[in-house]
């Protein structure tokens, strides 16, 4: 389904989405992030600081609550994931592809009821990147494209005075149908314009590119013991920026948070975690399988470009460039992959 929305009517469409809570990028203290929509929604944002992964995989999530009176068995109360229906506007295609990768992880082997519980109530309305959202974009080199609909329910393309909305899933169609008369059939010129703009976007070079993503997994395997890892990892300060801002990083921690002692009361809480944190893999004994900065950088990069490929046939990285642009010390995953893969 491809339909036209006048530029000025976006808010009306959002208003027409009954039963959906809408989110779109906005700025708070100059930080671009997905927040409940406030009129007018403009969709003129660069890459948001964080990808929209919070919607299905919030940074903090309670799985169940427990209560235990001394001498009695504990009582557990499961928590159900928030059932609100959320629609997120302005999602870049790289982040859309990130959603797919997250879906893969949380459905593989056993289904994560919390992730999927949220996910099934989530819709993503994407925004085609007619020009790169940042100088660090490299989606094309990792199998993506600035107009990809992967993971998105609708893709919006800016045609100058109007948006062209293309549905990519049945949910997307539902969303568009809710707009009713707001949406009109595109003209032939508009269709041609769309094609032209998409082609242009695809042709536009990105400043950054993974050299040979197809062979990256093999090359990374070959160079697992390369001294380059320690060399490149030396600059790393072991913060969580690259992983917390990544649309596909899913590692987490589970802890009991206690909020009362008479009776014992609390909950089991999932919080994000990062393989870049020093104690992420540390055993209780103090033994740490990945105890150096280099080994942790290797883990992150290998996971994105090798392990995920080995398991699911595609790189996990979607080329959004956040880990590059936000790294405090300028570690560039593209550079790392290219250098390691190129080394002998």
């Amino acid at each position: 389904m491809e339909l036209i929305l006048e530029k000025g009517r976006l808010d009306d469409w959002i208003a027409a989405l009954e039963g959906w809570q809408a989110f779109a990028p906005s700025q708070e203290d100059e930080v671009w992030g997905y927040r409940p929509t406030a009129s007018p929604v403009r969709l003129d944002h660069p890459n948001t600081v964080q990808p929209p992964k919070n919607f299905a995989f919030p940074q903090r999530e309670v799985f169940f609550r427990f209560e235990q009176v001394k001498g009695e068995p504990p009582r557990l109360t499961p928590v159900e994931p928030d059932a609100a229906r959320n629609v997120v506007f302005g999602v870049r295609p790289c982040d859309g592809r990130g959603v797919v990768r997250m879906d893969t992880v949380f459905s593989d082997h056993v289904e994560d009821s919390f992730y999927l519980g949220r996910r099934k109530n989530l819709a993503y309305v994407g925004l085609a990147c007619l020009k790169p959202a940042s100088r660090h974009c490299f989606c094309k080199s990792v199998g993506g494209s600035p107009v990809s609909t992967e993971g998105l329910d609708v893709l919006m393309t800016d045609l100058g005075d109007c948006w062209l909305l293309a549905s990519a899933t049945p949910v997307g169609e539902t969303l568009m149908q809710a707009a009713g008369a707001l949406l009109t059939e595109p003209s032939a010129e508009q269709r041609m314009e769309l094609a032209r703009r998409h082609e242009e976007a695809l042709a536009r070079p990105q400043k950054s590119a993974v050299a040979d993503v197809g062979n990256a997994a093999t090359r990374l395997k070959d160079n697992f013991d390369s001294p380059l890892w320690e060399e490149l990892g030396k600059a790393c300060i072991a913060c969580g920026i690259c992983t917390y801002l990544c649309p596909t990083c899913h590692c987490f921690d589970l802890n009991d948070e206690v909020s009362g002692g008479k009776p014992l009361r609390g909950g089991r809480v999932r919080t994000w975690d990062s393989c870049q944190f020093p104690d992420f893999t540390m055993h209780s004994s103090g033994h740490n399988p990945r105890d150096s900065l280099g080994s942790r950088l290797r883990q992150r990069v290998s996971h994105k470009f090798r392990y995920f490929v080995e398991n699911f046939g595609t790189p996990q990285c979607t080329g959004c460039g956040r880990c590059v642009s936000q790294c405090p010390v300028g570690i560039d995953i593209v550079n790392v992959v290219n250098r390691v893969c190129a080394s002998v």
Binding site: F66, L76, S113, L254, T281, P289, E310, N311
Partner: protein, 274 residues
């Protein structure tokens, strides 16, 4: 909600035995599901045990699958959760979810000689295999158990090991000689070399401290064991047990799913990040 994969079942502690005292104390616990059937498991699988308010810890199940009334765990006191376990009394109720991970292909080993090599608390993960083999004694040929601790006081399952003697060759050892110790003195890998088990139609299963495993595998190979004849288990820090939290990741594997049991020919190709 039935599909809350992180929600533990409740289990009651029915038995506690202090195996080893001291700073690295080990206690054995038997847990009985508080309601319902609980779950079945296979040799080598683990379960995530909870003490509410403290957290969870992945512990290998030390009872054999044919034991239906309880699940046994031998837990060394190392951190927050395991310390809380050591404070439990019989009758206390804890959380348990599982079973997690793969298992030893015990069925495939029928007709073979089984050689178990354990050290310290590494006897627990292979104990279900030993128990299974003994229970199905007719299906296996020779069963040999090598097991050692730092001192006689660090030997766990002492009574059980004695009971085993009829069904299996048991070779115990302690690291340093001590009065009253009549068996072998020295490290487990050395005891292994001392007894020189034959690789002929044999499977070697080893578990213990990483450094011990390293030398055991070295020694087994020098005795002529092929990589696929050697099995071990690896332990990594785990939080979810479900292949999601990313913590136990070694190469492409999540140990909680693809492990903990590995044959050496598979394991040797994984990064040594465990």
């Amino acid at each position: 909600m039935g599909d809350n994969i992180y929600l533990p079942q409740l289990a009651r502690v029915s038995y506690i035995k202090e195996e080893v005292a001291g700073e690295r104390a080990i206690k054995t616990f038997r847990l009985e599901f508080a309601e319902g059937e609980g779950f079945e498991h296979e040799c080598g699988q683990c379960a995530m045990l909870s003490i509410f308010g403290k957290g969870e810890a992945m512990i290998s199940i030390a009872s054999a699958p044919h034991v239906k009334t309880y699940k046994q765990f031998s837990i060394m006191r190392v951190g927050r959760v395991t310390s809380a376990f050591h404070e439990l009394s019989v009758g206390d109720v804890v959380g348990i979810r599982g079973p997690y991970g793969n298992s030893f292909p015990v069925h495939d080993w029928r007709g073979k000689n089984l050689i178990f090599i354990g050290g310290g608390c590494g006897l627990a993960p292979i104990w279900p295999v030993i128990q299974t083999a003994v229970a199905q004694r007719e299906h296996f040929r020779d069963i040999t158990v090598f097991y050692g601790g730092r001192s006689p006081r660090d030997i766990m399952y002492q009574a059980e090991l004695e009971k085993l003697r009829g069904a299996a060759d048991v070779h115990l050892s302690v690291d340093k000689a001590e009065e009253g110790w009549n068996a072998y003195c020295g490290f487990v890998p050395a005891n292994l070399m001392d007894k020189e088990p034959s690789p002929e139609n044999a499977i070697a299963i080893t578990c213990g401290p990483p450094i011990m495993i390293k030398f055991v595998i070295q020694n087994l190979r020098s005795l002529g064991f092929r990589d696929e004849q050697i099995y071990t288990t690896i332990e990594n820090k785990m939080k979810c047990g479900l292949g999601k939290c990313g913590r136990c990741n070694v190469g492409k594997d999540y140990v909680c799913v693809k492990g903990p049991v590995y044959s050496w020919d598979v394991l040797k190709d994984l990064p040594a990040e465990y």
